[in-house]
Subunit: 131 residues, 2 copies
DNA sequence: ATCAATTGCGTTATGCTATAACGTGTGCCA
DNA sequence: TGGCACACGTTATAGCATAACGCAATTGAT
């Protein structure tokens, strides 16, 4: 998955996420980009769809928010499964990869003849600074 | 976590989920229970909150839906972490527990001094019957 | 060169998911 | 018997996401 040039909208959305402290909702991104001409949710969602597909943005299913990939230069998809810790106090998100967990889930799916699409692993709680 | 008697609303919601083929959204449950007098989303959400707390219903974060626990008699919470496969074609959900994955996630959290609250593991894809 | 396919864009409208805030009723037990 | 805890019902609103339309730019095969 090579990284094509981003369109203006995609670039603006990625920038907003990259400069944010934590994850942002689509509507928060919209508000941040009103000065740049954004007017409608779809402008954000369409950019997000593409950025997620490229692997430079992750969607956090459990909080309906999006976060820039922690290491966008390497191809995040190539690391396989991505897991997250999400601090419910400060919003800090940490991304990590664990090959054993990945293997274990793959084995379960294989045993059941389940064809794996996208996998979500999210741990919500309190980070070290907030506990 | 003992299982107290359920209220009428809680019982109706749990029944709806138990008899369903797959996961249901809160609003789908609401529609199913209109004949029983349900009129507003909160009636469903309040029941769901309680049922989830009791461990007899699980929330699937990645599809904003709810499913009855596969083994409600045992205390599902006592099995620790619950993971799911979710078929995107037929909606079938399979619940499973893997001690090694649980251990691995716990170790990661421990290393980072992250205090774990609720953990979500959901694999979306195609089940054996739909692949 | 030109046509068709693809992709992104902008807009309006709408639908789905979830909670806030208020008041009522009931059971418990100090 | 007064206070508390809990569930309930209702109205209203907030928050998240997509449908459907048409236009513009790009690409690429003929």
């Amino acid at each position: 998955m090579a990284m094509p040039n981003l369109t203006r909208n995609q670039h603006l959305v990625l920038d907003a996420l990259s400069h944010a402290e934590g994850p942002l909702s689509a509507y928060t991104i919209l508000d941040k980009l009103r000065d740049q001409g954004f007017r409608a949710p779809l402008q954000v969602y369409r950019a997000l769809d593409k950025l997620v597909e490229l692997g430079v943005v992750h969607r956090l299913e459990s909080i309906n928010a999006f976060v820039a990939c922690a290491h966008p230069d390497e191809d995040c998809h190539s690391h396989g499964l991505t897991a997250f810790t999400i601090c419910e106090s400060c919003g800090k998100v940490t991304e990590f990869h664990d090959h054993m967990i990945e293997e274990r889930l793959a084995a379960f799916a294989r045993d059941r003849n389940f064809k794996t699409g996208k996998t979500t692993i999210e741990i919500r709680g309190q980070c070290s600074g907030c506990a």
